[in-house]
Structure formats: structure tokens, C-alpha cells
Subunit: 420 residues, 2 copies
């Protein structure tokens, strides 16, 4: 499958217009409830249900952390069993159900069972996701007592409430939506996400729920999701920590009547671009809501031998505390970026490396451009809220783009003081 | 060579008593001068010279950063040529001579040449080391004008001044010294080091200079140094950034009349333990002088399949911003440590992982110990200045120990505000 196309690095927003507002995906209903399991006076449960009683195709991408949370273990198993017949996703915020042992798995399964019984579908047709504190068990009886409210409240237009219900340390709900036209029909793609630090204080973090009304069978849907996630949710970093619960699901209701099957067709490419654009937009919202973040930084590595190399360089730069504090201090400190490139483990020739801050070249062919004017221009760029750092490593044609934020006093305050 | 012995993880201080004070290594002379190249009114040049006109065995360990600074390139070449006949090391602080191109290499070579000519030895018998700002060229004429002062000032007892002369953002000079007895003769091992952040603000950082009066030919000396560095200078991290200039040298004057040649002998083991102890002590001083550090943290991983695995886990935990801010906040946050273990890339069984803060077990066999008393005890340990974190991963017998510090508001302040 050749999903990796040459323009992957360019801003896909030019392809699909992404709107950050609530939406409706035909064939999908949403509901929320306030159980008070950990947060009081706000919704903390969300239920996403397909109208089709037989369920619809779904795909999932899960954390690689070995301390996999119970809902991840359960959902992985369920999606393997019923990838083309998923009926619902139940989400709770506040307690992550991670490091909870066998009992945690039993509880995750029992919570899925509540939904499965209510909808009259097999247990494996229900997925679950949790976010919140690591350690404590979820209260399944409490969830059970809100099941009627969740089912009665199902409606197509409650995505904004759902985006609020899944928040933990997030300060704003995150939604993104795009439409494309395939064979004269409007196809809808929408999603919600949460996650402000990669792990917020003792929180298990990043969740994303994407839906479309195209019909795409699960194995192709799975490839689409992996492609989009690798360029969006897996291309952001706040502090390099990945959580026990990270999960992104994609559901395809098929309600539009349009089927996408040939993975090399025009309609496939259109869909994929829009899916990528929605995923990137949600990812950017997560970075911008990063703990203590004052700046949004794009690290773009070009001219690498392989995409993997480009990603390694981008990740090393994006996660360097020295680089991140320099952004916070508005100090156009190319030395720290160059030093991070040099220790990334990627074999490059220092003489071939050049570095740009937005359009200002500060380092060319392994040497700094040491003049007053360049330094002034570079420092001016560092005063901006959005900074693009382009690193050309001169060994090939592969590229990767990553998003991160700065490391501020507030990051330290938030993370040092959380539990006290 | 079987230098890795089972007790590597235990505190080697029990073997050799390390003193943090000035010392004398017979056969080695030291001098300093204040050139004012970047710092005013303090020594910024140091010269280490062997009394033996033919030079002595030396070994070096260098940064793996691809943006290798000019003095590293030059010294690597020289030590390859004259490993058993090194006569001198010239060090300057303030300017790193990194990212300085061909001209930087010419200048590093010319500065070595000044010393070689004065001492009447081949160019390759002189090593050079620089630390300071990345980008600018060093002023070789300025160094030349201080050559007489450096040579005339050579004396056996100026190590404390030399430790001061190599400082950049360091707040204290760093010395360590130990003696061992071999066949009734006292053997001396002493060293100085500098480096407060791994890269201080735009600074190229970690330098170490170790000397002994044992005779050890260069190839064995090289193995000894690599072993000691892997357990000391390469087992510390302040912010995970490694610099363009990191270098550790070891010189063996032979003046004691004792030769160490069999790498499996008792005397070899004694020497190696002492060398490791001195190196560890210098490394700890670097961590304790880490930028903004308020706490000294030991991360000890036990029960790994391989030492490499143990190191990977230790490094992931030691470099996690979330873990480091938790130490700063005195928050015994086991969840962040467990999450870091789980994302380290090492294949372990979560059910086999246990975690101790000093002697308090907070997490056993993949599950937290959720009682009030444990939490109180753990929080009490986190109030201490030195905290040992022991992570047992239950897959084998390999161990690794790493030292780090916390991530404080001051770290952000120092690194955000350096150039402004």
C-alpha cells in the first residue's frame, strides 16, 4: 500500500477545510452523563453509538506503553473479534483504570457489558476508553446507574458535550470537522480528542474519537487510521511521555451510501487527506492546550534518507528541554537545536545541515550565519506565537513534521504541585 | 575482557575512599592563566604536562554528538597517533570551538602546536579541550601570549586552580582523589571535571581529566577508562542533552614504579574500583551542580535481562520531565515512574515490576500499594535531598545505576533567560 505520498509534509489543510465546531455524522449518536466518579458537577461519561443494529466497521490505534490500561486490553481484544460490527464506545474521564490488575480488566469488561446488554449486541461489539488517575478502580455500579440516562440522551448533535465529558486537565474541548465531495456526495469526517500534557499529572492522557459516514471495511479503515495517526497524534509531543491509555478510534457508519474500497483511487486520496487534516487539527489543539504552553512550535525535518530518520531528528529536537526552554525565553538559540540534531542517533553529515526559523536561515552547511542582522531577524521570529523550525539534513528526500510547545515555568508549577 | 563484575551496581565508595580536595599526582604538573578570552578576571586556561619528556600513556573518551567540536576532532587524531607518548593537555574555557568549520580545526591544531613547540615534542603528543559558547572561533594569538606564564607556572599542586579554570556555568570547582595500595606501594588517582547542565545555555559542557601515577600502557588504559566512564560520566543526566565537546582523558605517569598489566589481576581490580570511584564522585558533583537542581536522585534498575536494558529503563525514567518535576514538587508520584518504565522500549512484564523509594515499596508486582501509611512514608522520603529510586523489572540479573537531579523553576529560568 502506497499511502505515503510526496506531499505528506505539506500542510494538508489546503486540501480539506477543517472547522473547529460541533458536527453531525449521519448514522452516529452521542450522549453524555455526569456520574461524579471523580469530577463533580460536569459530564464525565460519554457514549458513542452506531444506529445500525449490526454495528459498523471500526479501527483502533493504541498506546505502546507496556503498562497497558485495562480498557485498552479489553478494546484491543473486542476490535479483533468484531472489527466490522462495532456498535458503541463507552468513555469515562477521571479514573484511567491503569495499573489495576485483573480486577481492572474485569471492571472494564463489565462496563462494556452494561452497554452490550442494553443494546442487545455481543460484548465484543462494545469498546471502552478511560482517562484520568492511574491506580484506582472504576466504579461500575455507578456507571450502571447512569446507563438509562446515557441511552435516553443519545442524539446526533452532542459532540461538543462529549468533547467536554472526556476532558481531564484539558482547559478547552477539542473538536474538528471536515467535508469532502466524492461522486457528487458530501462525505463527513468529524472527531473529538483530549490530552493536554502527554501524561498530565498522574493522568493517562490522549484519547481521540473519529467518525465518518463513508463506508470503509475495517481492514482498509485500519490502514487509513494508522496513516493519519502517524502524521498527527503520533507527531506531537508535549513532554515525551506517552501514557498507559492512549487510544484513537475511527468508526465508519456508511450512512452516506459512498463506499471507499480501492486504496489507490482518487476518492481514497481525498478521504485520506481529509482524515489526516482532521487528525492534525485535533493534534494541534492538544499541543496548544499543552501544560503551561505559551508557544506552538512546528519542527520540520527535510532532506533525510528515510522518514524514520527524519522523525528521529524531529523528535530529539522537539523533546529537548534546552530547546524548549529557549523557545519559552524567546532566545533564537540555534546551538541547542544543532546539538540536539547531532545527538539524535541519525547518521548525517554536519556539513550538510542547515537551519531556518520561519524563513530566516541561521545556520547553513554546518556553520552559523554570524551577523548582527541575522541574529536580530531570528530573535524577531522567536517573539511570535507560532514558530516553524526547518532543519535540512541534506542526505535524501524524506521529510517529517512534528508539533510541540515550549517548556515554561507553568509546566513546572503544574507538574510539581499537582498532588499537593 | 571481563571488566563487568557482579558488584558493579553497589556503591564502589566502600572500596576506595574518595576525597574532594586538591592532590598531587607524581609525574604530572599543572598550570593556569587568565587570558580573558571570554571570562574576565578569572583563570580560563589550564595546562596539564607530564614530566617525562617522552610523554606518557593516555586514553580518551569523546562525545558521540555528530557535531563534534574541533578540539575533539584534533585530540582524537593525536591520541590515535601517540597514545603512549602524550606530553600535555591544553584546555580553554569560554569558547567551545564547535560549529567553527575548517578554520576551527586549524585553530585547535595551532593551539596544540604552541605547546608542542614550547615542550619540544611532536604536535600529536599534545591534546586539546575546549568548553564554552558554540559558534565563535578561539583566539590563538591570545593563547600564545599566555604560553610563557602557563609553562613557568607548572607545579604539581595546582589542581584546584585548574578545576576553577575549566568552569563555565559551574558554580563550584570539582575535584576527586583516591589512593590504593598495590604491593605495598601507594598508587594515586586524581581528577577534575566541569559541566553543570549537560549542555549549559549554548555551552558545550562536560570535561574530565583523570591522572594516576601507576604505569598502564595505553590500550589497557583505554579499556579502563571506557569501563569507568560507562558507570560514571555516562551514567548521569541533567537534561538528556549531550554536547559537542564532551571529553574525558586519563593519563598514567608511571612515576610510582607500579605497572598494571594483567587485566584480571587483583591489582587491576583494585585500580579499576578506585578509578570508578573517583569518576563516580566527579559525576555526582556534576549532577549536584546541575542547573537549578534541588535534589540528587539515584535511579537504580535491577533484575533486567541485560545491562543495556537496565540502562535504557534508567535513562527513560531519569530524563522524564514529568518524573523530574515530581521530585521537585516532593510528590511521590509512582504513576509517572511506572509509565516511563513502560515506554522505555525494553520488553518487560508489567506484572513483574516493583518500585521502591529509598526503602519504601510503593508498587509491587505491577500493582500500587494503595494504603495511607505507604503514601505517607513515600512522601516523607521525597522530602529528603537524596532519593534512591529502585526499580525491579524481574526479568534477569542485570543492573544499572544512574544519577540525575530534579527539574525546577530555576532550570527554566536559567535556560530561558541565558542570552537575554
Amino acid at each position: 500500500m502506497t499511502l505515503v505520498h510526496a506531499e505528506a509534509v505539506k500542510n494538508t489543510k489546503s486540501v480539506a477545510v477543517v472547522r473547529r465546531e460541533s458536527f453531525v455524522i449521519p448514522g452516529i449518536l452521542v450522549s453524555v452523563a455526569s456520574s461524579g466518579m471523580r469530577y463533580k458537577g460536569r459530564p464525565d461519561l460519554a457514549l458513542i453509538v452506531s444506529e445500525d443494529p449490526n454495528g459498523i466497521p471500526a479501527a483502533g490505534v493504541f498506546t505502546k506503553n507496556l503498562f497497558t490500561a485495562a480498557p485498552v486490553i479489553v478494546s484491543k481484544h473486542h476490535i479483533e473479534q468484531k472489527a466490522d460490527h462495532i456498535r458503541a464506545i463507552l468513555i469515562n474521564a477521571g479514573i484511567a483504570n491503569a495499573c489495576t490488575g485483573e480486577e481492572g480488566i474485569r471492571r472494564a469488561r463489565r462496563s462494556a457489558e452494561l452497554v452490550a446488554k442494553a443494546l442487545g449486541v455481543p460484548l465484543e461489539s462494545v469498546l471502552v476508553a478511560s482517562t484520568g488517575v492511574i491506580g484506582p478502580q472504576i466504579d461500575v455500579d455507578l456507571i450502571a446507574s447512569y446507563m438509562d440516562e446515557l441511552l435516553n440522551g443519545l442524539a446526533p448533535n452532542r459532540w461538543h458535550e462529549a468533547a467536554q465529558a472526556i476532558m481531564t486537565t484539558d482547559t478547552v474541548p477539542k473538536l474538528a470537522y471536515a467535508e469532502i465531495e466524492i461522486n457528487g456526495t458530501r462525505i463527513k469526517i468529524g472527531g473529538i480528542a483530549k490530552g493536554s500534557g502527554m501524561i498530565a499529572p498522574n493522568m493517562a492522557t490522549m484519547l481521540g474519537f473519529l467518525c465518518t459516514d463513508a463506508f470503509i471495511e475495517s481492514s482498509l479503515l485500519n490502514q487509513f487510521l494508522r496513516y493519519a495517526v502517524s502524521r498527527s497524534f503520533n507527531a506531537i509531543t508535549v513532554d515525551g511521555d506517552t501514557s498507559t491509555n492512549d487510544t484513537v478510534f475511527l468508526l465508519a457508519s456508511g450512512k452516506s451510501g459512498i463506499t471507499i474500497k480501492d486504496n489507490d483511487s482518487d476518492s481514497c486520496r481525498k478521504f485520506l487527506d481529509a482524515l489526516e487534516a482532521v487528525s492534525i487539527d485535533l493534534s494541534r489543539q492538544i499541543v496548544m492546550d499543552g501544560e503551561g504552553a505559551t508557544k506552538f512550535i512546528e519542527i520540520q525535518v527535510v532532506g533525510a534518507s528515510t522518514e524514520e530518520d527524519a522523525k528521529k531528528v524531529a523528535k530529539t529536537v522537539a523533546e529537548s528541554p534546552l530547546v524548549k526552554t529557549a523557545f519559552y525565553g524567546e532566545d533564537a538559540n540555534w546551538g541547542r537545536i544543532v546539538a540536539a540534531v547531532g545527538r539524535s542517533g541519525v547518521n548525517i553529515s554536519p556539513q550538510a545541515v542547515s537551519l531556518f526559523f520561519n524563513d530566516v536561515c541561521v545556520f547553513r552547511d554546518g556553520m552559523p550565519i554570524n551577523d548582527q542582522k541575522t541574529e536580530e531577524m531570528a530573535n524577531a521570529e522567536f517573539k511570535k506565537k507560532h514558530i516553524n523550525v526547518r532543519i535540512s539534513v541534506g542526505s535524501g528526500n524524506a521529510t517529517f513534521r512534528m508539533w510541540t510547545c515550549d517548556l515554561s515555568h507553568d509546566y513546572v508549577t503544574i507538574n510539581a504541585k499537582y498532588r499537593t
